[in-house]
């Protein structure tokens, strides 16, 4: 069996794939709102009040930025900022104590934002690969700032 990576030079066709793009196109507004609420609730469930606010904020951003790339970038940047917040808030001296963790709440928050954001990005991309099977060609990476094709198609159809 050949590995997937050996076939990773195809063009991006996920959006046009009957199992992926068509299904996504059929996703109505109500479903998307429901999924959005579900996502926000999931962030609340796993992240508490702060997590819920992050989830709502991400859903709000989703109205403006529909590309998964935005959320990938946001997530990676948030997580990349975490070590610097640790450095700014101070490292341990002498013996390490549990206070080291409680002192670095900002890092916890940043990583939380990052996780929620990359999770959202991954969820947004799942329709692109759905039904392709392990042996079909994978989609090309979504260029930063560009809209994912299915969403663009949806937008073109006049749906918000």
């Amino acid at each position: 069996m050949r590995g997937e990576g050996s076939r990773s030079h195809g063009s991006h066709r996920g959006g046009r794939h009957p199992g992926g793009g068509l299904r996504l196109r059929r996703t109505g507004r109500v479903t998307r709102i429901a999924l959005g609420i579900l996502f926000a609730y999931a962030t609340y469930f796993f992240g508490g009040l702060a997590g819920g606010l992050i989830g709502i904020a991400l859903m709000a951003l989703r109205i403006r930025w529909r590309s998964p790339s935005f959320f990938w970038a946001l997530g990676v940047c948030a997580m990349a900022a975490a070590p610097f917040s640790v450095l700014v808030q101070g490292l341990a001296f002498g013996n390490v104590t549990p206070g080291f963790v409680s002192r670095h709440g900002v890092a916890h928050l940043l990583v939380g934002i990052g996780l929620a954001s990359v999770a959202l990005a991954a969820f947004l991309e799942i329709p692109l690969v759905r039904g392709l099977g392990p042996n079909a060609e994978p989609p090309a990476p979504v260029p930063a700032g560009a809209l994912a094709v299915p969403v663009a198609e949806e937008s073109a159809s006049g749906e918000p």
Partner: protein, 1276 residues
């Protein structure tokens, strides 16, 4: 080298790939196996279980048996280490390799397996061609803080981590070829390779499998749901069959205890923030430290070095960045798995305000059976590491290809690659720096003297046990830190050691904790320890003087020497040279240095023989003693002489009315004790490990050893009441130190009207916000109260502000100064008063902040301990049992909560409430000592009775009775009053009014006293005379004749003439001569003292006249002596509740009230002889000469799985005998055989059989399937 390169260039593509592949394997082999050999070379590093390494063959044999009789009085084993760990170790130890080398091989194998699995997983997604993906993913997964700090320190539960990538590979391949049995069999075999352990890592390993199945069905759509489900079912069924041998162990009592008594979620998730979890840290132990430094010093740089902080975040961040820019589809699954893993690892973080997910977890832990076993959520880190490694590896390979294809980006590619490699290398730095193992947890070899001692003990012990003192959570020796005690290194030796965590149904653990009291800071009852050991079947006691007691947090050698003087123990042998490996204790204090000096004369191993030990399995006959309480009550029962040497002991807490009825024919005797106290226990320590005695409504559902199902009626509980307002409830936000319980700082102390006791909070944390509260059943009216704050030494912090909070919500804030502070406020009616610390003046030394007393006008708070009521609850409504208890010998035994003198006592006196079933007379007996803190006049009253002349003082030096005030008016200049200071100290003498015109005094003139320089003499009519004192200490004062009834002399100035001493010695008066006033007639040293009636001994509020069974010397030197009621048999108690109080001048040690116990031992029926033979499932006991019912004591911890039968007829459920043992009452007489079996062994045997038969079948299925697959491929 150039030749090799040239030859490489000449190879064709496939040969190159093969070469690269070999290079990869060789590289991984070297990295996995070589560095561990260079870390602490030659030393075994503590890992999982000591016997696995030091006695692997014996361990393998023992692991076939569920019941292990050593070293904790018997327990069920559920290690699950039989395969592969113990088998691997046994094979390599069997060929003669040293322990440390086998361990390094094992660790290397685990690391290599992790890396190998990761390579194969990358192959699956990225193709078999070797790129940067395989080595990078393998390195990220196999060498990180999780593997190197957490995994290798307990490799038994690390195996699932090592095999997870492999498991996922075969699972994915199985889902892609779901038909047939090949892949289900291979999945089951890989799962089998993960071994047992506590099962949690295996459960966590199932999550990525389930996730991939969902992915394949619903996203990839590469397999139909039905096919996937069938494949999973087949794999699951085969896996259950061949893993059944350890899965059945998850239902054992030991697993339940581990879950109940080991660290809880609030500790486990204290540090598992998203950020820390993401970088594969976050395990709570990584952030712990003690006075010896961090618990995981190898990880310290991840918290202190900016470079390491950056590097630890870099890999996961790059992994997510790679997922963004990468092309392979399944990356999305691993992104989501990584997110899920971080969230699950965080668990209930933050523990003080958990997320809904955290709260759901807590709910699941408490309500879903077995869920609590998954609470170490850090174990899900395997999935995070796998996802990160995969994303980073494949992403890096793609990025590398992209960058290399663009010439302009090549330098960037090079720098990026260097940074990435550097980051991976830094994350694995313990591997490269030789810090893989912490030196204090390593051992070179067990010293020869231990091997010799073990060999000698093995020969001598026969049917008995060897007790190793002291116990502890971990055992660090001067020669190494194997963590398990030396007893565990010799599983063939029948041994007993106190574990920290409770074992089985916890009776044995309770008994061992009680047995260790004398040298673990608790009180000592001479002879009781040997008697308890004798009942455990202990023939030899081994003192481990070479323990690093400070690091092990256990008793030091000089503490253990109390056993050298224990009646019933005789010295047997010692091993090692005096001082060899016996640790000193640094130079903390002069006392420490003195102790260390004494310890250096001790050999490392001392062995004592127990007199006349009972066989482990034995018959006991005679009247059983039914004890209400627990093992902590047995020592005072033994010292009271209430327990015969071979008398069976049962706990009433285990006996129902029917159970009591069944014992009635044996003529039982009853003792109610103030033991089984409701306390919270800290099972991470073996000393200073329990709280003060709690009220019934505090401590939660399960406290302490939770004996008898945790029923409150079986416990001794604290109760408080007020004279008019019913019961009171005293509580506090905390007390004492956060590091170890300090029961002497209990909140009740502020309401006991005793300024020598304190409630306070200790440690370095801020005490602001801490509170103590009293609540009432009925509201009280209050307008002021008086506070007496605790004042520490100079330089310590001081309470300066307090808030009073009332039940109506009103708050009163006040400043507090040292000394009594009266706080007035508007009249109000309240049901509670809370005093909350609102302000503290800091001090450089920190220290205790608290209150000595709170006085509320018109309110007296009575505090007592209520004894267990289970016995009386059981007989209620049962006339035959009531008459049994009314006629049977009955005693109450009280033991004051106290330490061995090195720490303050929990209680200063005894106040006990108990029930009496029927009217009867009781003999009072108590062991007491003169309380050194009692006022001078109370001592005189004890010695002379009530006198017309009374001498009091501001205090006496060192609380020494020989320095009291009356010795200044006894007419003997050789004695005198020595105060507790200089300026302001006073002595006062009251006497019947008489006319005086002069008096004189003689001060001390010696180096041990400050000479009096000036005094004030105050007469009862208000006359004050200030006079200088001559240098010879003499002073005579004349004044106009007047009628006087008291004289008070106050020291105004005193000091040594030429003193350079910073703290002057106390001032004092040899003789105060007041004409016609003397206090004489003190009894001579040896004259027995008579009866005493005064405050101190009260029964139901009435003073009891007691006979002091000692002379003056014994009394005044603080020695213990016995008291008894003056009127023999006069203490008649009616049925109902009673209260005994012994406090004040006579400080009790133990006390008892007994009725119907004869002083001469009753003639017990002869005990039948027993011959014991071990059988595969238990024991066969041949009984000969049974003439009456008797009790069979198994000598093993009680368990519901123990069963006994005679000729196939069951003896019923086992009893708890002698404080810990399973046992049965046997009514049959004559000669017969009792079969004792451990029922769980049959289930275990069945599981072994199923797994044993299933394993070759599964292997066969897998091999046939593989051949068939190859054949098909060949044909294709």
């Amino acid at each position: 080298m150039r030749g090799v390169a040239a030859r490489y260039r000449r190879l064709d593509e496939s040969s190159r790939r093969r070469f690269q592949r070999w290079l990869l394997w060789i590289g991984l082999l070297l990295v996995a196996f070589v560095p561990p050999f260079f870390s602490q070379a030659g030393r075994y590093a503590a890992d999982t279980k000591l016997p696995v390494w030091f006695a692997p063959t014996r361990y393998l044999i023992n692991s076939l048996k569920v019941w292990q009789s050593s070293p904790y009085l018997g327990h069920e084993q559920h290690d699950g280490l039989l395969f592969p760990m113990a088998t691997f170790v046994a094979i390599f130890r069997g060929i003669g390799l040293p322990v440390w080398a086998v361990e390094r091989l094992w660790h290397g194998l685990l690391l290599f397996t992790s890396a190998t699995g990761m390579v194969l997983l990358v192959d699956l997604f990225n193709g078999k061609r070797v790129t940067i993906a395989q080595p990078l993913a393998a390195a990220v997964y196999a060498f990180n803080p999780y593997t190197l700090a957490f995994g290798l320190h307990g490799s038994g539960v690390f195996i699932p981590y090592a095999l997870l990538p492999m498991l996922l590979v075969v699972w994915i391949r199985g889902l892609r070829e779901p038909k047939g049995w090949l892949w289900p069999a291979v999945v089951a075999l890989v799962f089998f390779g993960m071994g047992g352990g506590n099962g949690a890592p295996q459960v966590y390993a199932l999550i990525p499998l389930a996730a991939f199945l969902l992915w394949a069905v619903f996203v990839e759509r590469s397999v139909r749901a039905g096919q996937a489900a069938l494949f999973a079912a087949k794999a699951g069924a085969l896996a259950v069959v061949i893993n059944l041998y350890w899965l059945v162990g998850l239902t054992t009592q030991g697993v339940a205890n581990d879950i109940a008594f080991s660290e809880q979620p609030k500790v486990i998730n204290l540090t598992s923030s998203f950020a820390e979890s993401l970088r594969l840290l976050g395990f709570w132990g990584f952030y712990g430290s003690d006075r010896f430094g961090p618990w995981y010093p190898t990880l310290r740089r991840f918290f202190t070095s900016p470079v390491f902080v950056l590097s630890s975040f870099l890999v996961p961040v790059l992994a997510f960045a790679a997922a963004w820019r990468s092309r392979w589809r399944t990356r999305l699954l691993f992104v989501l798995l990584a997110v899920l893993a971080v969230v699950v690892m965080a668990g209930t973080y933050p523990v003080t305000r958990s997320t809904p997910f955290g709260q759901a977890l807590l709910h699941a832990y408490s309500s879903i059976p077995g869920a609590s076993g998954l609470r170490t959520t850090y174990k899900f880190g395997s999935t995070l590491a796998l996802s990160i490694a995969l994303l980073a590896g494949i992403g890096a390979a793609e990025a590398w290809g992209w960058l290399r294809a663009r010439a302009a980006w090549r330098p960037v590619a090079l720098i990026a690659a260097m940074v990435l490699v550097a980051s991976v290398v830094l994350n694995a730095y313990p591997l490269w720096t030789g810090d893989l193992y912490q030196h204090s947890r390593t051992t070179k070899a067990i010293p020869g003297y231990w091997r010799q001692a073990e060999a000698d003990l093995q020969k001598a012990v026969k049917n008995h046990r060897v007790f190793f003192a002291p116990g502890g959570l971990f055992a660090y020796y001067s020669w190494g830190g194997p963590l398990g005690g030396i007893a565990e290194a010799y599983p063939q030796l029948p041994s007993v050691r106190r574990p920290a965590l409770p074992i089985m149904q916890r009776y044995g653990s309770d008994l061992l904790a009680a047995t260790e009291q004398p040298y673990q800071l608790g009180p000592s009852v001479p002879g009781a320890t040997a008697a308890l050991l004798r009942r455990m079947g202990v023939a030899f006691v081994v003192l481990q003087n070479d323990l690093d007691f400070a690091r092990s947090n256990t008793a030091r050698p000089t503490d253990l020497q109390i056993l050298a003087h224990e009646p019933g123990l005789q010295p047997e042998a010692s091993f090692g040279e005096p001082g060899e490996n016996v640790p000193g204790s640094g130079s903390l204090s002069q006392r420490d240095r003195n102790l260390a000096k004494a310890e250096k004369k001790l050999p490392p191993v001392q062995i004592f023989r127990v007199s006349d030990p009972l066989p482990v399995i034995r018959a006991e006959s005679g009247s059983p003693l039914i004890v209400s309480g627990d093992a902590f009550g047995l020592s005072p029962v033994l010292s009271s002489g209430l327990l015969g040497s071979d008398q069976p002991v049962l706990y009433s807490g285990n006996l129902s009315a029917a159970g009591l009825q069944a014992l009635a024919a044996d003529g039982p005797e009853f003792v109610v004790t103030d033991s089984n106290r409701r306390r919270t226990w800290d099972f991470s320590a073996v000393r200073q490990d329990f709280s003060y005695t709690l009220p019934a409504d505090q401590g939660g559902r399960a406290v302490g050893y939770n004996l008898f199902g945790g029923r409150v009626d079986t416990q001794t509980v604290a109760i408080a009441s007020t004279g008019t307002n019913g019961s009171a409830h005293i509580s506090a936000s905390g007390y004492g130190s956060p590091f170890a319980p300090e029961p002497w700082l209990k909140p009740e102390n502020v309401f006991d009207d005793n300024p020598s006791t304190i409630w306070g909070v200790n440690g370095f944390n801020s005490p602001i916000g801490q509170w103590v509260q009293i609540s009432f059943d009925h509201p009280i009216s209050v307008s002021r109260l008086t506070l007496d704050p605790y004042v520490g030494r100079r330089g310590s912090r001081q309470l300066t502000g307090i808030q009073l909070m009332f039940s109506d919500g009103s708050v009163v804030s006040r400043r507090v100064a040292p000394g009594l502070t009266v706080i007035s406020f508007g009249q109000r009616t309240t049901r509670s008063i809370r005093l909350q610390i609102s302000n503290v003046r800091p001090g450089p030394f920190g220290g205790l902040i608290g209150l000595k007393d709170i006085t509320i006008p018109g309110l007296t708070v009575n505090q007592a301990l209520r004894l267990p009521t289970d016995l009386f609850d059981a007989i209620r409504g049962n006339p035959s049992l009531q008459s049994l208890l009314s006629a049977a010998p009955l005693a109450y035994v009280f033991d004051r909560g106290r330490s061995n003198g090195s720490l303050p006592d929990e209680e200063t006196g005894l106040d006990r409430i108990f029930q009496v079933p029927a009217s009867r007379g009781f003999d009072l007996a108590a062991v007491v000592r003169l309380d050194p803190r009692v006022p001078d006049q109370e001592v005189d009253r004890l010695l002379l009775g009530t006198t017309s002349v009374v001498a009091t003082s501001s205090g006496r030096a060192h609380n020494n009775i020989g320095n009291r005030a009356s010795l200044a008016i006894d007419g003997d200049p050789a004695t005198g009053w020595t105060s507790n200071g200089t300026r302001g100290q006073w002595i006062q003498v009251s006497f019947p009014a008489k006319r005086l015109d002069h008096l004189s005094l003689l001060g001390f003139v010696d180096a041990r006293h400050s000479a009096l320089r000036e005094v004030q003499i105050e007469l009862s009519d208000g006359t004050k005379l200030i006079r200088p004192v001559a240098t010879d200490g003499k002073l005579t004062v004349h004044f106009p004749a007047k009628t006087v009834s008291s004289v008070k002399v106050t020291v105004l100035a005193a000091g040594l003439p030429t003193s350079l001493v910073p703290i002057p010695p106390p001032a004092g008066i040899r003789e105060l001569t007041i004409p016609g006033v003397k206090l004489t007639g003190f009894p001579s040293a040896r004259t027995p003292l008579g009866c005493y009636e005064g405050p101190g001994v009260e029964l139901d509020g009435r003073p009891v006249s007691v006979r002091l069974g000692t002379g003056t010397t014994q009394l005044l030197t603080g020695g213990r002596f016995q008291i008894s009621a003056c009127d023999s048999g006069a203490l008649s108690l009616a049925a109902g509740q009673h209260e005994l109080r012994i406090s004040g001048v006579l400080q009790p040690v133990t006390a008892s009230l007994r009725s119907g116990f004869t002083t001469t031992a009753a003639t017990a029926p002869s005990t039948p002889s027993t011959a014991v033979k071990a059988t595969p499932a238990g024991y066969r006991v041949d009984v000969k000469g049974a003439t009456a019912p008797f009790y069979l004591v198994l000598g093993q911890n009680v368990s519901t799985a123990w069963q006994a039968s005679i000729g196939g007829i069951s003896l019923g459920p086992s009893l708890v005998l002698d404080g810990f043992s399973a046992g049965w009452r046997v009514a049959r007489t004559g000669d017969f055989t009792i079969q004792v079996t451990y029922a769980a062994q049959a289930r275990q045997n069945l599981a072994f059989a199923v797994s044993g038969l299933g394993l070759p079948l599964v292997v066969l299925v897998a091999s046939f399937g593989w051949r068939r697959r190859r054949r098909r491929r060949t044909i294709a």
